[in-house]
Amino acid sequence: MKNTRDTKSLFELSKPGRRATRLPVCDVPEHEITDLLPPSVLAERPPALPELSEPQVVRHFVNLSTQNMSVDTHFYPLGSCTMKHNPKRNERTAAMPEFAHLHPYQPEESLQGMLRVLYEMQEFLSEISGLPACSLQPAAGAHGELTALWVAAAYFRDQNSIDQHRKVLVPDSAHGTNPASAAMAGFQVVTVKTLQNGAVDMEDFRSKLDDQIAVFMITNPNTVGIFEPSMREIADEVHALGGLIYLDGANMNAILGVTRAGDFGADMQHYNPHKTFSGPHGGGGPGAGPICVAEHLRPCLPAPVVSKRETPGGEEFYLDFGGEKSLGRVRSFFGNVGVLLRAWSYIRTHGPDGLRKVSEHAVLNANYLLSRVKHFLPVPQGDRCMHEFVATVAPLKSEKGVTAMDLAKRLLDYGFHAPTVYFPMTVKEAFMIEPTETESKETLDAFAEVLFRITEEDPELLHEAPHSTAISRPDEVAAARKPVMCYCGP
């Protein structure tokens, strides 16, 4: 049922004179444009956008959409990305005009419902993390990391020790955003080794820890899906040297209501509400990256945060622009409110027991799948995991030349999205599987069976997989060597 005609590029579909939009005639007395604006700023003609009719636009994009796999359509065990169900009720809430059509500069009295939601969200996130101060401003996980590192910088600056605390320690299994954020925040990045099972190599850690430590960025559960066994020691030793612990909260889906960053020694963390709290990924965003920090870091948070004051009539919410120590602003306007609203709706849907159940079942599903997969793909970290695990395709590669990429591509033929591959870099031919709690045992069984079948298939078949998709194995080398980044026709 493929329709390749309407998925031609918009520019090929364009025809001069087609229109989809009709604007009203101007209802105010009109001036000549050249009377209003100097000729030097005026364009000769508007930009060469495509010229289309409404049905054409609809058919084009609807057909494009069906060329994607998505959580709504397929099992999507993309490790580290927590591709869980995106509840439709959250979409309905976010689309309400009373939220969707609020201007960021409306008077606060006209925004009390919105501000209340955001205030509650700050409280929820603080409670879940055990870190009492919260900023909702960051626009994504990486932005949250960066913001937290700026908080750290502001803190050390305030302590007059910024020149001493220059190093950010990052495990080699960490997500690429961690070192990138640290570098952007002006710190020196020091990589710490991890062991086979994903745990921090304490020897290497101690060899790199000194009084220049600013922040240790830890992912816990880490990217192979185990809970860091030396968490407490790491925190204590970093704290002893005046450093801070930052938790990359991308894996919060494993520990909601089970343990809290603040309780295991972290001073700061970000959340990925578009993972843990079911925000849709949008084909690459938007997300949000709210952070929570310990009390002593509160003054350094970016401004504004939402505060509450008692009034004769009850209570009133307002934007609090913080004091001297605030690091300032990390973006325009308040934050990715639409994403936060969905997360708020998710947390309200679950309540305390429900959130814990989410993590319990995320962990149960991952362990169950691990128990099936380990029989044909080794899982170096061992028999247990939290919300995800990392298998290795390395033996298969040396035996039959089949790579993690081959398996990933072949899975697509069977109607499964691929796991994350080649991450973390510490596991060879890494195959990182995160089933999430919103999948059934039946699906996990089917996935394990297909994956096993694939490992038995002819390597030649796998090298050329996928076979059932419209395209297969784009030439990325050519794409990067001579990049074509926009449509070059008329």
């Binding site: 590029s9 989809a20 939009t21 101007c26 209802d27 105010v28 209003l36 100097p38 700023v41 364009a43 930009p47 956008l49 636009v57 609807v62 494009l64 994607n68 998505s70 959580v71 709504d72 993309l78 509840p87 009720r89 009373e98 939220f99 969707a100 609020l102 201007h103 960021p104 009295e109 006209s110 009390q112 919105m114 879940i128 994504a140 990486a142 910088a153 070192p179 002006g186 909601l256 949008g282 084909g283 690459g284 938007p286 602003r329 973006r331 325009s332 306007f333 990715n336 409110v337 849907t349 814990r356 319990e360 149960l364 045992k441 297969s472 784009p474 990325e476 990049p483 074509v484 980044m485």
Partner: protein
């Protein structure tokens, strides 16, 4: 729990397969002493129906652009959003997919991004666009980082006061830890004075940011500023309003453009105006385009066209070696999740408008805002604060200096009057930034003027002269 599948029987079967007694046993990977020994202190769960009632009550505490006539702007705009944009944006295949790491099952997203990039290059007149950044403010900051890396000038970046104050604050945050100074050029006339600008440009200035139309809605002398910037060897970062490009010259064409070896080097914008709701400030869309030679310094994902193993043309993420997942601390930026869905919405929006629709939208904004500017300026109480030509926003000065009251009384009368400027510019605390988009009607504007007229004290005072003049 509505989103879980596992039945009690499932749990039992799965635990048996794992070889565990209980789910709690699985959680024992977390040391006991670190475990939370109480339930989280959160409100109890609510089913969908209850939650909708809760949400309904909160929603009722908000006023919004649907029930209040809005003249608010300043970087977030009440432009019309066609229904098709929502229809496409709510397709599950778009909004519930991840970043297109597996190109074979993400051609829909990849092609949409490629088309988005193409439209951005055509709108800006620059050769390359990425597939989005977070928002206008952080895009401006990322452009500054790009300029610093490109020019290797770590001395300073130059921002006029007519640049959005929140963008300036964001830039300040981004460069603070790098030891780069932010030099602010005052704009007492509402626009950049090129001489003033030249006076702060030297060989340590990495870039100049120029917003046009600027935060006050006014048009800058783009050609002169661009020329001055390039003379100093700095990069010109344009901050533009995408809607304005229906009428205005593209940033890449400023000062003669590429043919003159000039024009903006990098252009960034807030893309919310292109089909996304105001949503109290986010999620929005950071647009960024640049000259081809800068592409390897560009942050964010880029989609490229290539062919597959059978020679079929197709799309894939490209130039990934700029990115954090490959280059880690050496990456051009830490950005990972971007604003894919809003880039998609912008594409749909622009596809619906086409060149003529964009032009007509821009023209309506221009004409209507001019109408309201004239009507307000005709009142005793107000004058236009600046004389430079404006696009869809303008600044009025309240001779009574009662901007906050004006806003409050307007709200009571059913209007969002505008953005009080005192919060950003203490010297403009008697000024209000007023925005008129294509959605506003003459009837609404006339009613607004009437409402102000009826406010206590709007007549009289300074106004007698003007009153006789009309």
């Amino acid at each position: 729990m509505p989103y879980l599948y596992n039945t009690p029987q499932d749990v039992q079967d799965m635990l048996a397969a794992i070889g565990a007694e209980s789910i709690d046993e699985l959680l024992d990977m977390v040391p006991d002493e670190l475990k939370l020994d109480r339930p989280l202190d959160l409100p109890a769960a609510q089913g969908e129906m209850e939650l909708e009632q809760t949400v309904g009550k909160l929603a009722a505490e908000n006023r919004h652009a649907g029930d209040t006539v809005s003249f608010l702007g300043g970087g977030s705009y009440d432009h019309f959003i066609p229904a098709v944009v929502d229809a496409i944006g709510s397709r599950g295949e778009f909004y519930t997919s991840y970043t297109p790491y597996q190109a074979e099952v993400a051609q829909g997203n990849l092609q949409a991004m490629f088309e988005y990039q193409t439209m951005v290059t055509r709108m800006t007149g620059l050769e390359v666009s990425n597939s989005s950044l977070y928002d206008g403010g952080s895009a401006a900051a990322e452009a500054v980082l790009m300029a610093i890396a490109t020019t290797r000038r770590k001395g300073r970046v130059v921002v006029p006061e007519s640049l959005h104050p929140e963008y300036r604050q964001t830039i300040a945050t981004y460069v603070e830890c790098l030891g780069v100074e932010v030099v602010t050029v005052p704009t007492p006339t509402g626009v950049v004075d090129p001489d003033e600008l030249r006076s702060v440009l030297d060989d340590q200035a990495a870039c100049v940011l120029l917003q046009h139309p600027n935060f006050f809605g006014a048009l800058e002398d783009t050609d002169t500023v661009t020329a001055a910037t390039h003379e100093a060897g700095a990069l010109l970062v344009a901050v533009f309003d995408p809607i304005s490009l229906g009428l205005l010259k593209r940033p890449g064409d400023w000062n003669g453009g590429a043919e003159n070896n000039s024009g903006a080097d990098i252009a960034v914008a807030e893309g919310q105006c292109l089909g996304s709701p105001m949503a109290y400030g986010g999620p929005y869309l950071g647009i960024m385009a640049c000259r081809e030679k800068l592409v390897r310094r560009m942050p964010g994902r880029i989609v490229g066209q290539t062919t597959d193993r059978r020679g079929t043309p197709c799309y894939t993420l490209t130039l990934q070696t700029r990115e954090q997942h490959i280059r880690r601390e050496k990456a051009t930026s830490n950005v990972c999740s971007n604003q894919g869905l809003f880039a998609l919405r912008a594409s749909v929006y622009l596809s619906l408008l086409g060149p003529e629709g964009l032009k007509e939208t821009a023209t309506l904004c221009l004409q209507k805002s001019r109408y309201l500017a004239e009507r307000l300026a005709d009142m005793d109480r107000f004058d236009l604060a600046f004389s430079a030509p404006t696009f869809k926003e303008f600044v009025i000065r309240d001779h009574q200096g009662k901007v906050d009251e004006l806003v409050k009384q307007s709200l009571a009368a059913g209007f969002f009057a505008g953005v009080p400027l005192g919060q950003f510019y203490p010297e403009l605390d008697d000024c209000l930034l007023v925005c008129v988009t294509e959605k506003r009607t003459k009837a609404e504007m006339d009613a607004f003027v009437d409402a102000i007229d009826r406010m206590a004290g709007s007549a009289g005072a300074t106004g007698s002269l003007k009153a006789t003049a009309t």
